[in-house]
């Protein structure tokens, strides 16, 4: 029997050292044209699980679960875990999991609205944070 995802996460946290990613995902949401660009930061414990393998479920289970109404059984906690990923594969997985498909799949406009960038390219000066846009 496959342990529940939450149990696998608890076991992995006791065993794996957190891994700080060297990447960030910078994106704009086309449904909020006046909102500033957003910056997705991978969680270090999650990244450790992704790189180790044997903990996280297939990304397709999260995508199918988007369509499952609240309160009904979701697939991802019970799915067979996948093997280890590279850091780049893990970032692509996270884009599909934690960013709305309207950004990474459905957008057909001319602007570049999503970039995977090294941490160093995110400005450290946040004085004008709410004016950030993705550089074209």
């Amino acid at each position: 029997m496959i342990p529940h995802l939450w149990d696998r996460l608890a076991e992995a946290k006791s065993r794996l050292e957190p891994v700080q990613s060297k990447y960030r995902v910078l994106f704009e949401d086309p449904r909020e044209p006046d909102a500033p660009a957003k910056v997705l930061v991978p969680d270090p414990n999650w990244m450790a699980c992704a790189l180790a393998g044997g903990v996280l479920p297939p990304i397709e289970t999260y995508q199918r679960d988007r369509l499952v109404p609240d309160g009904e059984r979701k697939e991802h906690p019970y799915a067979e875990p996948i093997d280890a990923m590279t850091e780049e594969e893990a970032i692509e997985y996270l884009v599909q999991k934690d960013i709305d498909p309207a950004v990474w799949r459905d957008y057909q406009g001319n602007r570049t609205i999503l970039k995977i960038v090294p941490v160093e390219l995110i400005p450290s000066d946040r004085s004008f944070r709410n004016a950030w846009r993705v550089v074209q």
Partner: protein, 120 residues
């Protein structure tokens, strides 16, 4: 790894089912999340998205069963002045925290949060 299998926990006088202990534990937490969406410690969080000044969205690795879970939240220990931390826009897969000064405008303050409720 050893496993303790028991249906009840007792101190000799009071007995409770282990399901109360398991179901009553925090299902996720994120400690000292700064304005750049970096947490000093966390569990069951896949990513934190910096959505603007003082505004972060925290996504679960293992989703909650519905959006009716409870989030205990507050400003971090290294906030330099009193701050509000507001919970909003919570769904089964994520929740959002907004830091503000008491007048209501956005502010920079680290947040702490712990999530209780039923897992998916």
């Amino acid at each position: 790894m050893s496993t303790i299998q028991a249906s009840n926990v007792s101190d000799g006088t009071i007995t409770v089912g282990t399901s109360y202990v398991v179901n009553g534990s925090a299902k996720a937490w994120a400690g000292n999340v700064n304005d750049s969406a970096v947490a000093s410690s966390s569990f069951n969080i896949s990513s934190i998205t910096d959505t603007g000044s003082g505004d972060n969205r925290l996504s679960f690795t293992n989703s909650m069963s519905a959006d009716n879970y409870s989030v205990v939240h507050g400003a971090g220990p290294n906030a330099t002045a009193p701050r509000n931390i507001s919970l909003y826009d919570s769904v089964a897969a994520s929740y959002r925290l907004f830091a503000s000064v008491f007048a209501g405008s956005a502010s920079v303050a680290p947040s702490n949060s712990a999530v209780f409720g039923d897992l998916a």
